[in-house]
């Protein structure tokens, strides 16, 4: 049967027979880069149409239904529109930083793809501290937002960027702590080992209530970190026009938009890897027949299924909760989420030492 790891191995063998080691590495890097870029293009198209359909479904309306069958080509048409639009740079802006910021946002999102296991044995870079890598790189994304907000030379943009900075820096704490809960249970920071430790059950089932609490805090924190409603104060339309990307138009705006969706995908992929077992199929104890049927489903389908379920969850938040005020947002993090996740990590540590998990 064909699988991602098999295709990767065939390509690797063919390349190493034809070229020497240096060229093989370089060509493989180029292939990985092209694959990442095309994955992002497809993700952008799929997630935009998904968001619009989900929002329409939540609000009992039809959503886009003109372009293509059932409106499925709508996001393609939107992309075409954004591509041919003129990308304006305001006169008072810091031109270099203004044009650089959207690319930084995209680069950060692309770097985050490196340690994610998309299928069995299919991973770009299985470094031994994958979890820390993700939290480190995702903290860089705030720099691109601050850059965009400051370089626009616009009060709305600067305020949006400042809010976003405060938000990302504070929610990083509880996201990190809830990720640490799983690290404590697994005893490893390597994403492939975390996935392998869930072969006999996902952590959300094996870890009892503390794992569920960690999962909930993780989802809330990453929703805030990706600047999505109900935490989208950085671009609150009713107060700040469009926040940090007020002055952006055309393709540069589209890059910010794409980076947001890519970040949503990545945090959901991390959530799926840590709590829902990544590419591990769903198994129930000793039901061998059931387990064999589940094993028959390809690992990539499991991974993308779980990831898209979490993405749907985050979209669900967006279209059902009203936006928080800035003081409510910071209270939620510092007075509720952070203490809860600190106590939770103590519980998880006790559980891991006493071996109470399955």
């Amino acid at each position: 049967m064909w699988s991602f790891s098999k295709i990767a191995n065939i390509i690797h063998e063919w390349l190493s027979q034809t070229f020497n080691v240096t060229w093989t590495t370089i060509i493989e890097m180029v292939i990985a880069g092209v694959a990442v870029i095309s994955l992002f293009a497809v993700l952008g198209l799929v997630l935009v149409i998904m968001e619009r359909k989900v929002s329409a479904w939540m609000q009992i309306r039809l959503g886009p239904n003109r372009v293509g069958p059932k409106g499925l080509l709508q996001s393609l048409a939107d992309t075409l529109k954004l591509l041919v639009k003129e990308g304006m740079t305001p006169n008072g802006a810091d031109k270099f930083l203004f044009n650089l910021a959207p690319f930084i946002a995209m680069m950060v999102a692309m770097l985050l793809l490196a340690p994610i296991a998309f299928a069995k044995d299919f991973q770009l870079w299985d470094l031994n501290i994958g979890v820390l890598y993700v939290s480190a790189i995702s903290s860089i994304s705030v720099i691109s937002i601050l850059m965009a907000g400051w370089a626009s030379n616009n009060k709305y943009s600067l305020l949006g960027a400042m809010r976003s900075g405060a938000q990302i820096v504070s929610y990083e704490l509880s996201a990190g702590l809830s990720v640490l809960a799983i690290v404590v249970l697994t005893g490893s920071l390597q994403l492939s080992e975390i996935v392998n430790s869930q072969a006999n059950g996902w952590w959300i089932f094996k870890g009892h209530i503390p794992a569920i609490i960690a999962f909930i805090t993780f989802i809330i924190a990453v929703t805030a970190e990706t600047n999505r409603a109900p935490f989208d104060l950085a671009e609150a339309e009713s107060e700040l026009t469009a926040g940090f990307h007020t002055e952006y138009s055309g393709m540069k705006f589209a890059l910010f938009f794409l980076a947001e969706y890519a970040n949503v995908f990545i945090v959901c992929a991390i959530g799926a890897t840590l709590f829902l077992g990544g590419w591990m199929p769903f198994h129930i104890g000793n039901w061998n027949g059931f387990n064999n049927i589940m094993d028959w489903i390809p690992s990539s389908v499991w991974f993308f299924g779980k990831t898209f379920f979490l993405i749907f969850l985050i979209m669900w938040f967006r279209w059902t909760f009203p936006r928080l005020r800035i003081d409510q947002l910071l209270n939620l993090e510092w007075k509720y989420l952070l203490p809860i996740s600190m106590v939770n990590i103590l519980l998880v540590t006790a559980m891991a030492i006493l071996k109470w998990h399955f």
Partner: protein
């Protein structure tokens, strides 16, 4: 030249060029952003040395936290050439002399250290397992004391921040 060497030269050139730009750029926000570039290049060197944990910590602490704080403060202060008082010429000369002295010390220290071959991509002291063991076995007391120091700094910051009430 293999890939490691090519990467080493690219990263070194990037680090030195960005470090120069930190000093040379007129706008303080640009300086901070170039400093972030320097940290990235140095983190790349850590990866080449197989010190992945140091790479991550360098990014989290410097590029992720400290530099974001710098950016916050500098962006909020809105430093411009026309609003800021310009330093006089002698101060600049004094700065150059002080910096030159520091460089002299560094060069002297490097010269006396002798040449050592660094093996790229090998060695495992920078991996989190070995680092953790070293920190919690050999250096557990200094480690705990320094964490108390951080706590006291944090309490101090809160006390100063609360002064207005």
């Amino acid at each position: 030249m293999n890939v490691t060497e090519i990467l080493f030269w690219i990263l070194s050139a990037l680090a030195i060029a960005s470090a120069l730009m930190v000093v040379l750029s007129k706008n303080p926000v640009h300086s901070v952003l170039w400093l972030i570039m320097v940290f990235f290049a140095i983190s790349g060197h850590y990866i080449l040395l197989n010190a992945q944990f140091l790479f991550i910590v360098n990014l989290i602490v410097y590029a992720g936290a400290i530099m974001v704080l710098f950016l916050f403060v500098i962006m909020l202060m809105n430093l411009n050439t026309d609003t800021e008082p310009q330093k006089n010429k002698w101060l600049k000369v004094a700065g150059v002399v002080a910096g030159g002295c520091l460089m002299l010390v560094f060069v002297a220290a490097l010269k006396s250290s002798g040449t050592q071959q660094v093996q790229m991509g090998e060695g495992n002291i920078g991996l989190i397992e070995n680092l953790g063991k070293a920190l919690f076995n050999e250096y557990v007391l200094p480690f705990e004391i320094s964490s108390v120091l951080f706590l006291s700094a944090m309490v101090g910051a809160v006390v100063i921040g609360k002064k207005g009430d």
